[in-house]
Amino acid sequence: MSVVETNEAAAQVPENWEPKIIAFCCHWCTYTGADLAGLNRMNYPANVRVLRIPCSGRMNPQYVIEALNKGCDGVLVCGCHPGDCHYVTGNYFARRRMMIFKRLLEYEGLEPDRFQVRWISGAEAGKFRDTVMSVVEQVRALGPLNLTREIPYFELPAVPDGEEAFDAVPEEVVPEEVSA
């Protein structure tokens, strides 16, 4: 009746679990910094996937909710240092918004380490690496995000084979003989 799937069981960490973390990085500073880390062949854990946005001011809190809702264990938002924004003021707005939003998420029970915001400049390849390393370790220590997500749509009852599946396509629907 109720579509709630309580997720108590997820408290046990599955074997081979690796934290999945999304990092929203501004194009001008942090993304550049991350590229620099690559040029310098720095090494950091691969759990973070970078999503490029033009500016941390573009960071809509709704993306964070989506990421947490749909399966990320942690979210990192990075931008230029305040004062260095390519677009002058974007990160000042982002700073305010993210401060409020982070508190709200924590209020709703999200562990603080799962949502982090950092200013990383285009030169701070080392800071990028260190941030990624620490976020991954912190989230790893917390384990999988224990959030009730959604009904497990995709777990199906016994799946018929390809051939049978097509048999399941309904018969053509033919209208009755047309009357005048």
Binding site: E5, Q62, I65, R96, Y107, G109, L147
Partner: protein, 284 residues
Amino acid sequence: MTAQDTIRARARELLESGEVASFVGWEAGRFANQTTPLIISDPADADKLVFNEYCVNTLAKYVRDLVPRGKVGLVVRGCDSRGIVRLIVDQVIKREDVYLIGVGCPGVIDRKSGEPLKKCTECRHNNPVICDEMAGDEVAKDAPADRFAEVREVELMAQPERSRYFESIYAKCIRCYACRDVCPCCTCRECFVDARRENWVGKQNNVAENRFYGLTRVMHIGDRCIECGECERVCPMDLPLMKLNRKVIQDLNDLFGEFESSMSLDEGPEPLITYDLADREEFM
């Protein structure tokens, strides 16, 4: 003359003189001590207006739909008037679109329990913040000792407990959107939940989608919330929505200076669409 008499008399005058095209107040409902919003355009209906301690509905939101018909008169208490300020600041209406009859509000009583309504015990501004005239005097009322008591209560819970608490809220939500539709801050032409292209919120009713709606709603109204408490009152599932709204307000208050939205028409920009170079830095 009681406030109710004044309201009736003035409503009649305003409608008769053509100063306003419609007038918004309350009328008695079917059941004992029940009231319901009343919108009239015929001066003869003025005697249907009531004002008593059972007028639960705030009226500001109605103005939006009525303004195209001409100037709107309405009765405003503290909460209604802040709703009007909100609508004016958000450019939904103009100040000259409304004629406001202020009335001091001693707080509304729940007709079933006979106790004061929660939203009224938490109210800090029971007298109108703007109006064109007053029906009766302002009413003195004790402001709640701690505006954020219920927020702190939740904050004191352990993290997993808080998580469970809010999940149970989202599990109960049926997404009827009454909280949105009653809110004077929610004036979008189309709510983000209806945006099919972005598909922010899936149509399914489940904890995750409801959480998306719930959190986003708070982020959208947080720095504009007038703290009328109507969202919480109208919720058919009795979800404690003000605990979310007030959390954001508390943080805005703590971080960016004393904050109470919609107290006057010439407030600066809301805290989240402005910044200060001296804002606290916690993301280094």
